[in-house]
């Protein structure tokens, strides 16, 4: 499995490991995320600290996921980005304007307390 799912406090944490390729890992990730949303788990953290490569469709899966979660008035926040993946998100300007990132899972989980999901849609 390229990712595992845990629940911490009030958030559901997807940990992505190794290479995250949209075409390979996307369908399972989507399915798993949809399940979480259906169960009302809309505070989502994606832990990228052990991910070392992500292709464009992998990023696409995260964007699609973010859209789904926000539609349900939740949010998806990124945690522990490695330098390589962070660069990818910086060049594409997805960091800041679309995704928020946090130092680690703990900080991302805590952010839902101090800064709850606004439910702002990407599509407005």
């Amino acid at each position: 499995m390229p990712f595992t799912v845990n629940e911490e406090y009030n958030a559901v944490v997807f940990e992505i490991k190794g290479r995250f390729l949209g075409s390979v890992d996307g369908p399972k990730f989507k399915e798993s995320l949809s399940g979480a949303i259906e169960d009302g788990k809309i505070q989502v953290v994606v832990d990228l600290s052990r991910a070392d490569f992500m292709d464009s469709s992998g990023i696409g899966i995260l964007i699609g996921g973010l859209t789904s979660v926000r539609r349900s008035n939740g949010d998806m926040r990124l945690a522990g980005m490695t330098k390589r993946i962070r660069n990818l998100f910086l060049i594409t300007k997805l960091l800041g304007s679309v995704f928020e990132d946090y130092e680690d899972v703990k900080a991302a989980v805590a952010s839902f307390q101090t800064n709850p999901a606004s439910g702002a849609s990407l599509e407005s």
Partner: protein, 427 residues
């Protein structure tokens, strides 16, 4: 004497039954040989089986061996026929068959010790099932239910159903293999189509602009990727120049790329500035692009009389400018990738081109090209080649970059397209 007549009569009846069975099997073989449609084949098997053993319903259930752990996912296809509503093979019977792999005759299913606690569909009175085996692998189960007139299935019925199952198994497996082959061939066709679309969109030649030397290359990776390169005249004696990368691969990426090209070429004509063009294109793509797809794009407008390039960048690698004196700098202004957020405010910048300056716009297939040690080619190596070959023609410079990338990656297989556009002011 009487007993001899009786024996003869019995022998006669047996022979007649055998002739009937043989002709039925012969019909079945002819029927099955004539079709490659799995649904039709399974329907025929079920109909023949029902008729052969005088049952009222039947079902073929195919299983895939890889998924033995979960019975629920075992049923790939099932084809049923008969009076009343069709039903699925009971999971317990399927499970028993997976373990025992031999025919099963149940004339009183509810009283059978092997199926204690199983809740049978109330319509099931009697059941007869036989495994579909090819090369000692269970590929499915042929089951019939409820012998007509309230009768019970006999050993002869069981023998006959087993023969039908044995005869059908290989044919069912063949249709499955044929179906797989068809799917593969469809995928190959799709890939071919994607290739053609992508090739059709590629620029074949570059305009001969006085004072400029322009060259682009786009080398698709093994699978069709989604790099995009364009150079196109727009009003005001200017040219739009783009290098982009659409997310994903294969036919969807090719179609998205065609969409991007059409969007940009039309918006470029109507936009007064690079930022406006990207904002318009972004809004349009946000409406048409499937969720999760996006496009990185460097968009520039070359004013070849004024020797400047106005540009905006939607999440693409920063292009590099190399000057005659070997200094280099990147076009730093960035912006969000296209197709994700409708109201992103793109901004623009412009850069003057002196004689000897070359603009290199490239895709991440170059900077992220990986060798067998999983090291990336990287921007530093790219800068070194560009500086070293800055005096070469645009074509030679792009060839030198490509060669350098190929030398670096060696035998490692590339999974990303390599795209490069060089705009050099020579006079």
């Amino acid at each position: 004497m009487n007993s001899q007549v009786e024996d003869l009569r019995r022998e006669n009846a047996r022979l007649q039954r055998a002739v009937g069975e043989l002709s039925m099997l012969n019909d079945l073989a002819r029927d099955l040989g004539a079709s490659l449609d799995p649904d039709k084949i399974m329907n025929k098997i079920v109909r023949r089986a029902i008729k052969a053993v005088d049952a009222s319903q039947g079902v073929v259930t195919l299983v895939s061996e890889a998924e033995h752990s979960s019975l629920k996912t075992l049923i790939r296809t099932s084809s049923a026929s008969g009076e009343r509503r069709s039903f699925h093979l009971n999971e317990s019977v399927l499970g028993w068959m997976l373990i025992n792999r031999k025919p099963l005759l149940l004339n009183s299913p509810r009283g059978d010790d092997r199926f204690k606690g199983v809740r049978w569909d109330e319509s099931v009175q009697t059941l007869l099932a036989a495994p579909l085996m090819t090369k000692s692998r269970l590929i499915g189960v042929l089951a019939v239910y409820n012998k007509r007139q309230g009768a019970t299935f006999t050993d002869d019925d069981q023998r006959l159903l087993s023969i039908i199952a044995a005869q059908s198994a290989q044919i069912v497996e063949n249709t499955r293999l044929y179906e797989e082959e068809q799917t593969l061939s469809r995928m190959r066709e799709e890939l071919q189509l994607a290739n053609e679309i992508q090739t059709g969109l590629q620029l074949k030649d570059y305009p001969d602009l006085p004072g400029y030397d322009i060259h682009g290359i786009s080398e698709p990776a093994r699978s069709v990727g989604g790099d995009y390169i364009d150079f196109f005249p727009i009003p005001g004696n200017r040219y739009m120049l783009c290098v982009g990368d659409v997310s994903g691969k294969g036919l969807p990426a090719s179609l998205l790329m065609a969409n991007v090209q059409a969007t940009l070429r039309s918006q470029a004509v109507w936009s007064d500035s690079a930022a406006e063009c990207l904002s318009r294109a972004n809004a349009q793509l946000c409406d048409s692009v499937r969720r999760g797809n996006f496009v990185t794009l460097f968009y520039g407008v070359l004013d070849h009389a004024g020797h400047s390039i106005e540009f905006a960048n939607a999440g693409h690698n920063r292009p590099i400018i190399v000057k005659a004196d070997a200094t280099t700098f990147e076009l730093e202004l960035g912006g969000l990738v296209l197709g994700v957020k409708r109201d992103f405010p793109y901004s623009q910048d412009s850069v003057a081109l002196d004689i000897g300056d070359a603009l290199c716009v490239y895709s991440d297939g170059i900077s992220e090209a990986m060798n067998l040690h999983r090291q990336q080619f990287g921007e530093e190596r790219l800068l070194r080649v560009i500086v070293e070959h800055r005096r070469a023609s645009a074509e030679d410079l792009s060839k030198a970059i490509l060669q350098s990338v190929q030398d670096f990656v060696g035998q490692a297989q590339q999974h990303d397209d390599i795209t490069l556009l060089i705009v050099k002011r020579v006079a």
